[in-house]
Amino acid sequence: MIKANPRILIKFEDLSRLNKKVCQCLKELFMFELSEKKQFTDEYDKIIKKNLNSQD
């Protein structure tokens, strides 16, 4: 089955080295895109807010 291209996940880590929240959020957005294709606005908002407000 389709798995996230590990190279992309590594790239997220490389490019957001100083901001773990950004890295984690992008991974979650990416996994969302790989999974069910439901209405994106709410889900994006949810993922963004959750990661922004998470503790490092």
């Binding site: 992309i8 901001n19 069910e36």
Partner: protein, 654 residues
Amino acid sequence: MRITKIHLQNFRQYRNCVYTFEKRANDIHIIVGENFQGKSNLLNSINWCLYNEEPHLTDKNKALAIPNTNALIEPSQDPVVPVMVELDLEDEGKKIKFVRKAQYSKQPDLNSKYRELFNKLIIQKNIGRGNNWDIIDDDELLRFEIDKYFPKNIREVFFFDGEQLSSYFKSSSTQRIKNNITLISQIQILEIIEDRLDKIITKKNSEAIGGSKDLSLLEKEILALKNSNSEISDCLESLKSELLEAKSEKERLDEVIGSIDDLTQINDQRKLLQKQIIDTQVTILEKESSLIQAAPGYIMLSYCHQDLLEFQNLISEMQKKKQIPPRIDKKLLEQSIKDDKCVVCNTKLTKAGRENIENTMESISISSEFARHLNEQASQISINLNNLLHTKELITIFMRDIHHYKEIENRLKQRLDDLDRKISSIPDLVYMTNKWNKRKEIENAIEMTTQEIGAKKAEYKRNDENITMKQGILDKELKKRGIVESLKKEIDFCRELQRVVTEAKIQLIDETREDARKITKQTFFSLHWAKESYKDVLLSENYELDVRHKSGSSCIGSLSGAERALLALSYIMAMHKISNLNLPLIIDTPIATISGTNRENFSKVLAEIGKTKELILLFTPAEYSLELQSVFNEEHATLRRLICSNGESHLEEY
């Protein structure tokens, strides 16, 4: 992931047939069957099951309905024929079944077609909980599951007709490679995230602006510029595709045209030469006409030339000897008598003077007239002799010009003959001329598209600069107005997310293309039977694949059919590795376009690939020769013969 079973019921030649693919020491499965026994329809059955499509139809198949012909005409109580294809998979301990069922009316309609009454795919999943199977039948979820296991947009790198292998890099290959790489490496998902983050940022900006009309206007302007750039991006993509397509088409035409000279240029030269010849001939005619006009006068004067000269000399002699009387003006004498005074000295005439004038008038009446005539003739002769000289000069010039233009005409005719000889040696001139004309059109299209791309890029850059400027103003204003801190943080966070995604996308495109090149090269060199002839495999920024000969020159155009097929297979293996999908490879007639000893070489390549993944190969008996049998003898996990008798296909041990 492996395919473990394909069960077909009433699907074309297959009345009820089960293919099983048990893995042994290796995973190569060979099916041998004559044409029209059902080999290609096995590929069709997989496509039909997953996507409800049959891309591998021959014309003969197209004419027939999907249900098995025997099942349609067989007398039975049931008014419908059920059709089913079941595809069983095994993926890291999980079992998945894709089952498509359809029903067709046994009664043909007015157009003699058998109507499809029902068609539905379901997926059954067993994730290791005994005999409990989850059933998925929601259309949205089904699409999602198919995309997870067999993404439709990249199916061509998993199951395909072997005949396409040797022509894989001939038509539209650059666009195909680009699409494959961006889809398989999931870079297109980054583009989706980038776009969606942009929409989220716009939405949050609108929230931050609230009711401010000025800022709302500014935001609308930014949005309009972004939309414009989004359209420009789409347009650029499509223009770049067109450009790549046009370049590929030009390459294909170059292959057909080979070393034949530019026929459009030759035709233009011919037309120009023909016009020049006509112009020269017109000039010659004009010169000849002038010559003809001048010639009679010249001829006549030439005849009299000697006499005229003698006559002129005679008069001249007489003048020298004063044999021609002086010319006395008779009118002056008459006037003097009339006025009774000398018109020269104005003195009154004496009687003797009057008589003297009257005598003189009488004596000169004859001799003066004669002298006048002689003088007139001498003058006319002089004019005629001058004319003769002038006409002679003109005739000489005309003759010289005519000679000169005739030489030009001959040279032009010679050049036209040379061109005619050149094109008469070209076989199928009309066909080649059309190809050259087409090439010219494509060249013009390439130039225009390149210019258009340049203009669009410049427009994009201008818009981008405008967006940055306006965004700066908006940010400043929002800061001044003290927008809700949490909203500001979200917008900044989204912008950071977007920055990382954009950067990741740019870097990954280059890295993935390089990966594709390296793996293609590695596979090509590790499997090639004469690798020492080659030096490198290249994949340019424009996704043009090329092979370099050991001498360093490009040689993709001169690869043999088997080598081209190997290059395509190497590229396909690269796509498999990049995709991170462990999918089987199913190839119908894999060596169809390969001849001679290369068939054995290529089969060894397939045997090597079969050691790393499930490989299902469909051969004709002619293809599956003794040489191939010796290659696969120790390598195959299953070997079966496919036979169709009485309209129904079944499998037998080989």
